[in-house]
């Protein structure tokens, strides 16, 4: 039986996906979605975060078949052509991107948070983002980035 799900708005259909395959493996190896990274393989670092039906999950801890019939969103699915998604723009504008390896996962977790809490407090941001490890930024600019992205998403333009 083929595995079918919606990836960034498009139906995908994959043959011969073993039960133990992680969603991360399938995204990277079968679908070329290299924006999802593997930083630990055990659900600690969040670099593999994708949205499953709009909610952030560690794709390294998710069996590919758990995605069957669902909506999978990776970082590649966010920008509309030249225009970045507001959350991506928030990260780009605040210096929250240093080495950038954790950035795709960060952006997707932030998106889940902000969908649920359009004006998140600093404490909410820090708790929500704690499943996404970063070794470069000290999270200082990540917090600013999420705030800024939330603001863009609310259509409020640039934060001073």
């Amino acid at each position: 039986m083929p595995l079918k799900f919606t990836l960034n708005g498009k139906e995908v259909c994959l043959e011969d996906v073993p039960g133990e395959a992680t969603l991360l493996e399938v995204l990277r190896q079968r679908l070329g979605m290299l924006g999802a990274k593997e930083g630990c393989g055990v659900g600690e670092c969040g670099a593999c975060t994708v949205l499953l039906d709009g909610k952030a999950v560690d794709s390294c801890l998710t069996a590919a078949w758990q995605a069957a019939g669902r909506q999978v969103t990776t970082v590649e699915g966010l920008a509309q052509g030249e225009t970045l998604h507001p959350i991506q723009q928030g990260f780009a504008d605040t210096g929250a991107v240093q080495c950038g390896f954790c950035t795709p996962g960060m952006i997707l977790t932030a998106l889940d948070l902000v969908e649920q809490a359009p004006q998140p407090s600093e404490d909410q941001i820090r708790r929500a983002m704690s499943g996404n490890l970063c070794r470069c930024t000290g999270y200082h600019d990540v917090v600013r980035a999420v705030r800024r992205g939330a603001k863009y998403l609310r259509g409020e333009g640039e934060e001073q």
Partner: protein
């Protein structure tokens, strides 16, 4: 290579689980780690993975009336965000909010948490405080087992092959406003509990619940501490005495091992803190 099945009904799930080499996937946050390990080591994989998370029956939550019930498929994120859970079983909602990361809470379930049998499982401590009795199904029928009897040793349970936890019949303490869950980890989020405590008090101290986790093979109600509270007068002295009793309970069971130099004072302090806060919540309501 494992096959993967997403059954539509409990009956279908039980049939699948009756096959040799079948394994429940109840969220996957522990299972996928062990599969990764097995793949790295070239160890054998389960024949069949049975994803039970889409069974509608196991995501039922009933918190009012005499028959309170929590489906095994409820996720930590759901419980963390559910206003009903916050209102009626705050000790579980608090514990749920402290499990892993937001991503792990999104997929991790209270069924998987218990079946995995980790001594440090936060959800498990809260469920023990709610006097949870697991409802366990197999093709042979349904059996009921108190959580305290389900876990026999770290990561070992009495669950037989072919059995599936459907949910928990719970008996919440009378007053939800006196419930506290505390967790100690090596960092502030996304940490395994070094120890955790679920504490519930009611105004008359008729049914206190004190559960200590990550200190025994599985989280445990400290009945001697509860008895002490029942017979005492609420206040700092009682909470302190309860803390000391909790610590001596720990050393009685576990002996004095090296971890005790931290755990004994920490258990004393955390117990007293949890009870103080639970009582303060009650007083805040009056």
């Amino acid at each position: 290579m494992s096959r993967f099945l997403t059954p539509a009904t409990v009956q279908e799930a039980l049939k699948a689980l009756a096959q040799p080499g079948a394994k429940v996937l109840a969220g996957g946050t522990d299972l996928m780690i062990s599969l990764r390990q097995a793949r790295m080591n070239g160890a054998e994989l389960p024949e069949l993975l049975v994803d039970v998370t889409r069974l509608p029956e196991i995501t039922r939550m009933e918190l009012d009336g005499p028959n309170c019930y929590l489906g095994a498929g409820l996720t930590f994120r759901f419980l963390d965000e559910s206003l009903e859970a916050r209102r009626r079983v705050p000790v579980l909602a608090q514990a749920a909010s402290m499990v892993g990361s937001m991503q792990v809470r999104q997929t991790g379930t209270i069924g998987g948490n218990v079946a995995n049998g980790s001594p440090a499982a936060d959800g498990m401590s809260a469920l023990v405080a709610l006097d949870a009795v697991a409802e366990i199904a197999s093709l042979e029928g349904v059996r009921h087992c108190p959580l305290s009897e389900l876990i026999t040793a770290p990561n070992q349970t009495t669950l037989a092959p072919g059995e599936l936890i459907l949910g928990y019949i719970i008996t919440p303490p009378p007053e939800p406003e006196g419930q506290v869950f505390l967790k100690v980890g090596r960092r502030h989020e996304v940490a395994v509990s070094r120890l955790n405590m679920a504490a519930c008090l009611d105004r008359e101290l008729t049914d206190p619940r004190v559960v200590l986790g990550s200190c025994f093979p599985s989280p445990r109600r400290l009945v001697d501490v509860e008895a002490l509270i029942k017979s005492g007068k609420p206040g700092p002295e009682l909470w302190q005495a309860a803390g000391e009793q909790a610590a001596s309970h720990f050393t009685d069971v576990c002996g004095w091992r090296s971890s005790a130099t931290y755990k004994v004072p920490a258990i004393t302090r955390i117990t007293a803190r949890a009870l103080k806060r639970a009582w303060a919540q009650l007083e805040g309501r009056s």
